[in-house]
């Protein structure tokens, strides 16, 4: 595959975001990163802006995340420095080549031209939340309630612009809710993907995310830049209710990606990495959802390729 066959490339930023928790944002981020790195040769940077750190833990393993924390190589360290008024570069804090897929890290291919991309992560730990609060306090301006978000967006955007040649895609794994970091990540992204469950509460949350978050607070709502993704889909029961959910989301003006990720126990099998140096083949990792994960990568690549230039 040549660069010209990958029109979606080019330092794009996508936020995986929704107000609601438990919809599969971190898992979706990992699936997109894995499928694009493996099947599309993408160099992906996952920026974990969620203090839960689930995406970081999935990618680095628990011990890898502990090591990153002890070495002060996490997003918290960057935010804390920014809160203290010290400009710190992001690049040294990034953990490189963290993909858990055998295919992507296969050392036997090391001498060949690059057949796969790679995944790096800017990790999060729970302390990120406190650093963010410090940043909010340091940036607070009573006459401009958006001052913290704007300052964070400027700093983040400037740092990521400096990494344009290193990474082809930046994926923000946002927390539930609307933290300053989440707002900055969404505001500086080219597009947003919102994982959604097939249940009424998800519709309400998505509506609040669109109206309160994207329209009212950030003023970035653009249906061409926003996609939904049904996750943890059950194939059984409540057919009428699920149809109503789909119709309600359509009325919101949110286009859903054609791929859905079904609920399976096997899909969660390799969420927990056995060790930072443990790797697993793609087919084994994703089991019965492997085709859907590959499709997800393809549809996300198409979505990114079709994103209008940002003004």
């Amino acid at each position: 595959m040549t660069g010209s066959e990958r029109p979606w490339l080019g330092a794009r930023r996508i936020a995986i975001a929704n107000l609601k928790g438990g919809v599969g944002k971190s898992t979706t981020a990992m699936m997109i990163a894995d499928s694009l790195a493996m099947a599309h040769r993408a160099r992906v940077l996952v920026v974990d802006v969620d203090p839960q750190g689930n995406a970081s833990r999935m990618l680095l393993g628990w011990h890898g995340l502990q090591q990153a924390g002890r070495a002060s190589h996490t997003l918290k360290d960057w935010v804390a420095a920014a809160a203290a008024g010290r400009a710190t570069p992001l690049a040294p804090l990034i953990q490189s080549n963290v993909c858990s897929l055998t295919e992507v890290v296969n050392v036997r291919n090391a001498h060949k031209p690059k057949t796969h991309g790679d995944i790096s992560v800017l990790a999060a730990t729970p302390e990120l939340r406190f650093a963010e609060i410090e940043f909010d306090h340091a940036s607070y301006n009573a006459s401009d309630k958006a001052s913290a978000r704007r300052r964070m967006e400027q700093l983040l955007s400037a740092e990521l612009s400096g990494l344009r040649d290193t990474f082809e895609l930046v994926l923000f794994d946002c927390p539930p809710g609307f933290s300053t970091l989440a707002q900055a990540a969404i505001a500086c992204s080219d597009g947003v993907i919102s994982p959604v469950l097939e249940e009424p509460l998800s519709v309400w949350s998505l509506q609040a995310f669109r109206d309160f978050g994207l329209k009212q607070t950030l003023n970035v709502w653009d249906p061409d830049r926003h996609r939904g993704l049904f996750t943890r889909v059950s194939q059984k029961g409540a057919v009428d209710e699920r149809r109503e959910v789909r119709e309600a989301i359509q009325k919101l003006g949110v286009t859903m990606l054609p791929t859905t990720i079904k609920e399976t126990a096997e899909a969660q099998r390799w969420v927990r990495r056995a060790a930072p140096n443990s790797h697993v083949p793609f087919n084994k990792k994703y089991g019965p959802v492997k085709k859907q994960v590959l499709e997800l990568g393809d549809t996300v690549a198409s979505f990114i390729a079709g994103l209008p230039p940002k003004t």
Binding site: H63, T102, R269, W270, A274, A275, S278, H279, V280, K284
Partner: protein
């Protein structure tokens, strides 16, 4: 109301314990759950016993020497199955070409310790 003849509390208890003992004899996974629930050191021996015990349960109970002696009696395929079934290694890692049982036991010790640390049990 049941037509069955009433029995004494002792006889009822004995009947219940006999049923538990029968099940424990036939079902190694159930037996191991009971043994682990006792919370006292028990040396698990034999392939049937070990297959259903999570290595993390043993790594938190025994020292390295005992752990490796317990698993050292198993052959390569059995060790690979335990590593993979308990998600301590991928099939490729657990059954890599040339990997011998001592290396598999070493891998199991390392990974089980990591998992126990992750779960806050060490």
């Amino acid at each position: 109301m049941s037509n069955e003849k009433p029995i004494s509390p002792n006889a009822a208890l004995r009947r219940f314990l006999d049923a538990v003992a029968d099940e424990a004899d036939m079902n190694s996974a159930f037996r191991n759950r009971l043994l682990l629930a006792l919370g006292v050191p028990v040396i698990f021996e034999g392939q049937d016993d070990l297959a259903s015990v999570h290595p993390v349960e043993l790594v938190v109970r025994y020292d390295e020497h005992t752990f490796k002696r317990i698993y050292g009696q198993l052959k390569g395929p059995a060790l690979k199955k335990i590593l993979v079934d308990h998600k301590l290694a991928s099939a490729a890692e657990a059954g890599a070409k040339g990997i011998k049982p001592p290396a598999q036991v070493e891998l199991m010790w390392d990974r089980a310790r990591l998992r126990a640390e992750e779960d806050g049990r060490l």
